[in-house]
């Protein structure tokens, strides 16, 4: 049952985290010899990023999808903030091993250690690893597979760990060059969420 708690956290945390791997536009280079290591290197070169997002959660128990909006920010090497504005103001900050969750409506906050929540950690660390261009860390949790070209790519992550795999069947991150445009998370139970990055600034 802690799995449930973990799962819900991760499933909510995952999309936006990956979204953060956004942006990072540098000028296009030739596609030849382009692959996962090159993508990682390019993502790693981005020192900071800002974006807004729209996230839609397609949950079987709801009459219609749940829509969330807010902002995302990333500062290298490992600080991520997801600030949800609607429907309920809430802010998540990840830095190092610490995860701070602030319920802005109720004025409550909670700090977690990622080590204590392996599933959350799997989501966050993989995403952070993507942003940091740390392929080794990414592969610790996922089997990554890259399709497409530099101008339009899709990175599929298949969870390695048993408990994670029981919850998430796949994470798909798409983008172009060093920008991430969308993160899609597909759950084993059939629920799904899609986070779209709608604008950005650096």
């Amino acid at each position: 049952m802690s799995r449930m708690r973990d799962r819900s956290i991760t499933r909510l945390a995952g999309p936006w985290l990956l979204t953060l791997a956004l942006s990072l536009a540098t000028a296009g280079r030739a596609d030849e010899g382009w692959g996962l290591p090159e993508l990682m290197r390019e993502l790693a070169a981005v020192p900071r990023a800002q974006a807004s997002f729209v996230e839609r959660r397609y949950l079987q128990i709801l009459k219609q999808p749940l829509e969330l909006t807010g902002t995302l920010s990333y500062v290298a090497p490992g600080r991520l903030i997801k600030h949800t504005l609607t429907p309920r103001p809430e802010r998540m900050t990840v830095e190092g091993d610490r995860l701070l969750i602030e319920d802005l409506a109720k004025g409550r906050s909670r700090t977690l250690s990622l080590q204590d929540y392996p599933l959350v950690w799997a989501f966050i660390e993989s995403f952070r690893a993507t942003l940091q261009g740390d392929l080794g860390a990414l592969e610790r949790f996922y089997r990554p597979q890259l399709e497409g070209a530099r101008a339009g790519w899709k990175l599929s992550l298949e969870p390695r760990e048993r408990r994670m795999a029981a919850v998430v069947s796949a994470i798909r991150i798409s983008g172009s060059a060093d920008r991430i445009s969308q993160i899609e998370i597909e759950e084993t139970r059939g629920d799904r969420s899609v986070l779209t990055v709608i604008e950005e600034s650096r």
Partner: protein, 774 residues
């Protein structure tokens, strides 16, 4: 004459046999709490008992260190898997499975009996509408705990509420999915044995099983550098028993050999040696038997202390031997020396008296042991030795030794001025000294070495089990009544948490609510049709699809039929474990313990707890107060003992001037002993205090022998030799004791060895008798 004369010998043999019988049947204890003060209030007694016998005493803290974190984590998991199925262990946890994983199914099934959120309004249309609105919000939150298959079963969030309530906020840190110390160098496990903490044999087996299981996994995973660290009450009991047993055997062997060598060297006669050891052996037997009869068992520490008896009891025989001569067999010699011997024994007994009345069960045992032993040794010397020694027996001390002793003694008075100067300087230093004299840590009295105590404290804080200082205690006539009381006190404490006077608290009623509370929660659950109607109304205005919450309806219907929980229902869960450690049966009463965390306003909390029918304890304050009380009490008894010794001397000497001559050297020796101990950096404890009285008891013998009237009546040479030998055996025995590992033994050993040497020296220095002899 002959028939009557042999009567004591026959009696002695019978008594020895009886003592042997008693001793053979007496178990040897290693109860750590015997050397901690007895608790003054019933509530505290409950705590002490809980420490000794309760769930807490069965905890073993296990740490693995000496390898990189991932290797430590693997070892931790492998060790936990190896230990869990063993019948010796009731509970093994390395953090890999948290509360929900272990007890999740149980909590889910019984959430409507356990959750404090269950109330009738929660299941009305309004309550359900609110719950669904909350759930929608949570679905959008990063901490959307309600998501997944749980939400349809539990839209009111009882399980999550329970988990928040039961999960410790500051649990151990985790790395690689298992518990780790804060600095990441140790993987941690918590193990609970099936056997009680005081069952040392069973604890020893359990410790050995953990060690061998660890050795096996370390080898399987080829991590030879990894080390296992174990602490906990049972572990300490095992190691303390081993250490004390080792000490007792070692010290006894060395003391026997030392005293035997001394006798052999001086008298060069096997017969003298055997006769000299008779009172010692008889005294030891009497001492152990007396303790066994009075206490039911004999502490290992008492046996270790027994070595001092070897040094003390042999004195009577030595004193007797030195006064024999050709034509003056022991029986005749005794006629001359019996008053002095009797007086010496009486002052020694007074010296041990302070221990007997100190209030420490362990210390009282030492006192009883010594007093019984000395009296037995004295009686054997008086009534048995003269019978067993041949009629023409006399022991001859070498003339050279007597000459040497006389020469040394003649030099002693020259030290008068330097000694007086030294004592005055010492008094001045003591008066001007600003540092603390007493060690105020109760833990300094514990036989567990300080390093082990520190390690245990470190592991405890890493495991998030901080030492409890503040506790609310609720008493009741039954478990049920006690749980109800705990609930009332819990309400009061909850208000204080809200008011900020308190950060939090734990209560057994969280894990096992009283039957009344459970029944009320059950009655709060509406009937199926009513609940369905309310839910349908609530759903109409929500984002959820109809039919999503059918599982919820089924669960509530089942909960209405489910039986109430009792202790037996919690068997095998972490909840059962918590209840056992927080609810204690003691005599005819039950007690609930509610540990308090983050106490900001102890006064307000104490008042609120009292009003709710409980008692608040501040264990540290109470323990410190208790310790001071015991020290004050020991000081009073030491004073009474000293006065008794002075009175005995006055009765024997019948002259204030002579009394002063006997006491002055003792006082000087006391002053210098205190000074030396403090100057050596020793922090003084209760044990030093009682040892000082012992010094007075032993030292008064020396000053008595040197007192000039005694010297004039006796044979100076023989007296000198006997005093020297007595002092040598005493210093030898107590000096050996100073090397023991238990603080009680080493403190007494150091103090008495030092004090006795100084008493002898000063007695010689200030003796008028020696001057006039010269």
């Amino acid at each position: 004459m002959s028939r009557v004369g042999w009567l004591p010998v026959a009696l002695w043999i019978v008594l020895l046999a009886a003592a042997a019988l008693v001793i053979l049947r007496a178990p040897i204890g290693a109860d750590l709490s015997a050397f901690l003060p007895r608790a003054p209030t019933p509530a505290q007694q409950v705590l002490v008992d809980q420490l000794r016998e309760g769930a807490v005493s069965r905890l073993m803290l296990v740490a693995i260190e000496g390898a990189p974190p991932e290797r430590l984590a693997q070892l931790s998991t492998a060790l936990a898997e190896k230990l869990a199925p063993l019948p010796a262990f009731a509970y093994v946890n390395n953090g890999a499975a948290d509360l929900l994983e272990r007890d999740g199914a149980f909590l889910l099934r019984n959430r409507y009996l356990l959750s404090p959120g269950v109330a009738p309004e929660r299941f009305s249309t309004a309550g359900l509408s609110q719950a669904l609105a909350e759930a929608e919000g949570v679905l959008g939150s990063p901490l959307g705990m309600m998501a997944g298959e749980l939400l349809p079963r539990d839209p009111t969030g009882e399980l999550l509420r329970l988990v928040d309530e039961l999960q410790p906020e500051h649990g151990p840190r985790k790395r690689e999915g298992v518990w780790f110390s804060a600095d990441g160098t140790r993987a941690l496990l918590l193990v609970q044995t099936v056997a009680q903490g005081f069952d040392i044999d069973a604890q020893q087996t359990a410790v050995a099983q953990v060690r061998s299981a660890f050795a096996a996994v370390a080898q399987e995973q080829s991590v030879p550098a990894a080390r296992l660290v174990l602490t906990g009450p049972g572990v300490f009991a095992v190691s303390t028993r081993a250490a004390i047993r080792g000490d007792a055997e070692r010290l006894a062997a060395w003391a026997t050999v030392g005293v035997a060598l001394l006798l052999l060297l001086v008298y060069r006669s096997a017969r003298v040696l055997l006769l000299g050891l008779l009172p010692v052996a008889s005294g030891a037997a009497a001492g152990v038997a007396a303790v066994a009869l009075a206490y039911g068992s004999v502490q290992g520490i008492t046996l270790g202390f027994g070595v001092t008896l070897i040094g003390e009891a042999v004195d009577y025989a030595i004193y007797l031997f030195t006064h024999t001569a050709p034509g003056r067999p022991p029986a005749r010699a005794l006629e001359r020396i019996w008053p002095t011997l009797r007086l010496g024994a009486a002052t020694s007994v007074c010296g041990f008296g302070a221990m007997l009345w100190s209030g420490f069960p362990g210390l009282a045992q030492l006192g009883l042991f010594s007093i019984a032993g000395l009296i037995a040794a004295l009686l054997v010397t008086r009534f048995v030795l003269p019978r067993l020694a041949p009629q023409d027996f006399f022991a001859r001390a070498p003339q050279r030794l007597a000459h040497g002793a006389l020469w040394l003694a003649s030099l002693a008075p020259r030290l008068r001025v330097p000694v007086v100067v030294l004592v005055v300087a010492a008094l001045a230093w003591l008066g001007l000294r600003s540092g603390p004299v007493w060690d105020d840590q109760l833990s300094s009295l514990s036989p567990v070495p300080a390093a082990d105590q520190a390690l245990d404290a470190a592991l405890r804080s890493d495991l998030g089990a901080p030492d409890v200082r503040y506790l609310a205690v609720v008493q009741g006539e039954s478990r049920e009544a006690t749980l109800e009381g705990a609930e009332r006190t819990g309400v009061a404490l909850g208000n204080l948490v809200a008011a900020g006077a308190l950060a939090g608290f734990d209560s057994p009623a969280r894990y096992l609510p009283s039957e009344a509370t459970q029944r009320a929660r059950k009655q709060a659950l509406p009937a199926a049709e009513q609940l369905r109607a309310s839910l349908d109304q609530a759903l109409a205005g929500s984002a959820f699809r109809p039919g999503v919450f059918d599982a919820f309806l089924a669960d509530v219907a089942a909960a209405r039929e489910a039986p109430l929980l009792d202790r037996a229902a919690l068997q095998g869960t972490g909840l059962g474990l918590r209840v056992d450690s927080l609810v204690v049966e003691h005599g005819a009463h039950w007690y609930a313990l509610l540990p308090l965390r983050g106490v900001a306003d102890a006064g307000a909390i104490g008042l609120a707890v009292t009003n709710a029918g409980g008692v608040m304890l501040d264990l540290k304050r109470d323990a410190d107060a208790l310790y001071h009380e015991y020290r004050a009490r020991a000081a009073v008894f030491a004073g009474i003992g000293a006065a008794a010794i002075a009175l005995l001397l006055l009765l024997a000497l019948r002259d204030p001037v002579r009394l002063w001559e006997a006491l002055a050297p003792l006082a000087a020796a006391q002053v210098l002993t205190w000074t030396l101990l403090l100057a050596l950096g020793e922090r003084l404890t209760l044990f030093h205090l009682v040892a000082m009285l012992l010094v007075a008891g032993v030292g008064s013998n020396y000053s008595l022998f040197f007192e000039h009237e005694t010297l004039r009546r006796g044979d100076v040479r023989n007296t000198l030799v006997s005093v020297l030998l007595c002092a040598a055996s005493t210093v030898l025995a107590f000096g050996l004791l100073a090397t023991a590992r238990a603080p009680v033994l080493s403190a007494i050993g150091t103090t008495v060895a030092l004090g006795a040497s100084l008493s002898l020296l000063f007695s010689a220095v200030f003796s008028r008798g020696l001057v006039s002899e010269r």
